[in-house]
Amino acid sequence: MGAKEAVRRRWAALGWAYGLLLAFGVFFVAPFVMGFLASLKTDPLEWPFRLAFSQVSPKNWAAAWRLGQAGSGDPWLGGMRPGRQVALEVVYFVPRGVEPTLLAEIPRRKPGAGMGAVFETPYASDHVTLEGPIPLERRPAHQEEGEIIRYRLVLRYQGEGPFLERVPLDLEAPRGMVLVEATLDPTRFERRGRVASWDNVTPGLLGYVFHNYVRAFRETRSLETGESLFLRWTLNSFFLAFVKVVTTLVFASMAGYALARLRFPGRQALFLFMLFSMMVPGQVTFISNYLVLRDGIFGLSKLFGVETLLNTYTGLILSGLVGASAVFIMKQFFESIPREVEEAALIDGATPLQTLFRIVLPMSTPALGALAILTFQGTWNEFFWPFIVLTSPREIYTLPIGLLSFRNAYGQVGDWGLILAGGFFSMIPVLILFAVFQRYFVEGVNVGAVKE
């Protein structure tokens, strides 16, 4: 075999290796990318799935920006303010023999599901007047028998009034008349193509492209305070994860150190029992734990004037102070540290507490870091136990439980765009964390796996 050929073969093998890696990469990333694209669509379940749709067309971006600017001065999120007006042009094809009658209307429209159905928001139809459709231009069509008509519609918000988040518009044409072009593509066609319907003709750029996200954010609000629940849930999850990380790091190091270094009766038994506890699924213990929290940990909470620890963070935090697996990880780690380091301190008369916090822990940052990430990820994603403890009101949910309530609110009506948007919305914080700490994430797996 010639040297030249060996080189050629090595390059080709390298190419194949990268090709394979790339293929796997596509496999792992594609569902997310496609799901994200779908979350932008009005109908994420359209058949066939198009990669070029209204929300990714630059023409619509420009129009949404302009219309948002005209309607409220905010090109990003749009809306409409008093004293403003916006104009829209639509082009229809009218086949020969069909009378071109185009009816335009600003409908009184209100969401039917979720919290959007609850909030009283002002109706655009009460404030905005519609002028048109005015035919601007008529010319014969090229391809088919008939003519092309260009119409203009002007929406005016006169007098005083509230800020309108959205201004819907419906255009109804007789059968056969087809919408060929519009300043802004309609949100959907209804009644078998007869009605072109815009959810908002002053959407602004973000309001148009991230239509479902803006809705998820706006329509999932707390009834009492009106604040966005998605934001609340995210903050709750962060708070709980943070507390859990702190308690886990402190208490797991303490217990791990005692198990690794100190001699006391029953040490081996405790260790074995701990291993056993790690193998018992949460479904076994949650019944009693639920009752314990319900009664305020044997009535102890009543001393603080709290009837029950259900639906409280105190209950959730107390019941999850430190996990056996975290103790195990720390114990294993401490055992891998040479004893000599501590012995000097012990000889100087330091107590085990001082040794642990002054000498051992500062040396343990790698293990603590990995454990922190592992705990954070685990708490952030934890579902079963918070789901049992936190049931009401919605303001105290964590993100995963919030997502479930969100899914149930919109699943019946099949609003998958909104549901997908909610899912992706919830991924953002942990994706940012992952991007920053990705090495620890990957390493944390190995640390965590030692536990079994």
Binding site: A12, L262, Q283, N289, R407, V445, E452
Partner: protein, 367 residues
């Protein structure tokens, strides 16, 4: 004096262990014992528990929904564990080379594991709708089967011709020579495109319409919705286990492979005689972790069920059965029965761990 030091040390230990003992004692030991006790009683949260002996266990194995849940859980666990172990191993071997930019790929592959089960379930719900991406992709695939077949035939033909030509020139070329394969691949691609352009190959009208979620139909004993969860869960757990395998693979000395290569061992021999035996501890670890994790399937059941999703009969698992009996919708809770079912689940887990201890090697083998 000496005894005193001992006592002091024990006291310190107690102090350090206190928070952990509180957690372990109240929320595990007490809970576990109570679960065992409840499982022998008839308890509905309203009236005090009433001792019924083994009646709950007896009733459990008479109840169709429990048996269904048990069957689903076991099958699901087996399928997911084998799939994820297999693919994670393949992927780890593919990634275990000193290639430039390999860390980037590792990070990208890890992405699905970062996502919470809740968010992943929402994605799943969309992917497996009637006109969701999975059915769309399958339709695309099946309607282009002629292209694929043409492509494969062209590739094999070209490759065969090239290899023959090389061999005739006296070179010992293996059939899958990477360089030649690249050329054949390109040729096959161009050829298929040309056939398509000439109209020799045409896409067929195929519409795959599998109702993944709203159905009770099953395949190989598992209902469709659970298959959807199988696919999604495999997809999100492969990366985690891949990382474990990678760590294990790092521990295998390269020299072993080099020596084998000198002896003329094929890649398959190296894989089955070197990689797998030396990875055995990790392999067992991955399988155990996989089985334990999958036995407790709950979140996805909750998300995939419900309005616009799958019927409960098609998704019920042991964990869900337990939950559903403690908090039934509009009936009195059956805590005794639920506790018995939960203990069955715990028993299954324990058996698996013991089997692993028996046949596999613990963490000592590889770390």
């Amino acid at each position: 004096m000496r005894i005193k030091a001992r006592t002091l040390e024990a006291l310190y230990a107690l102090l350090l262990l206190l928070p952990f003992l509180f957690s372990l004692g109240v929320f595990f030991l007490y809970a576990f014992l109570r679960a065992v006790y409840f499982s022998f009683t008839d308890y509905n949260l309203f009236s005090p528990p009433r001792w019924v002996g083994l009646a709950n266990y007896w009733a459990l194995f008479q109840e169709p929904s429990f048996l269904l849940a048990l069957k689903h859980t076991l099958l699901y666990s087996l399928v997911v564990t084998s799939l994820q172990t297999f693919f994670a191993l393949i992927l780890a071997i593919a990634l275990n080379r000193p290639l430039r930019g390999i860390t980037f790929f590792r990070t990208v592959y890890y992405l699905p594991s970062v996502i919470s089960t809740a968010a992943a379930s929402l994605l799943l719900l969309w992917l497996f709708q009637r006109t969701g991406l999975v059915n769309q992709a399958l339709s695309l695939l099946f309607s282009h089967l002629p292209h694929l077949a043409g492509f494969a035939l062209l590739f094999l033909g070209l490759q065969g011709a090239l290899v023959l030509w090389e061999r005739r020139r006296g070179r010992r070329t293996p059939f899958l020579d990477p360089g030649l394969a690249a050329v054949s691949l390109l040729g096959a691609f161009l050829g298929t495109s040309a056939f398509q352009a000439w109209g020799l190959l045409q896409a067929r009208e195929v519409r795959v319409d599998i109702p993944w979620l709203p159905t009770r139909a099953s395949f190989l004993g598992l209902p469709y919705p659970l298959w959807a969860i199988v696919l999604m869960n495999t997809y999100t757990t492969i990366p985690t286990f891949m990382v474990l395998f990678l760590a294990g693979l790092k521990g295998i000395p390269r020299t072993l492979y080099e020596a084998a290569a000198l002896d003329g061992a094929t890649p398959w021999i190296m894989f089955s005689r070197i990689t797998v035996p030396l990875l055995r501890p990790v392999l067992f670890l991955v399988i155990t972790l996989g089985l334990i994790g999958t036995l407790q399937l709950f979140d996805q059941v909750l998300f995939v069920g419900g309005s616009g999703g799958a019927p409960l009969e098609s998704t019920i698992t042991l964990a869900y059965y337990v939950y559903g009996n403690v908090f039934p919708s509009g009936a009195t809770p059956r805590v005794g029965l639920a506790s018995a079912a939960a203990l069955v689940l715990a028993g299954l887990t324990l058996v698996i761990v013991l089997l692993q201890r028996r046949f596999g090697v613990g963490e000592r083998g590889w770390s």
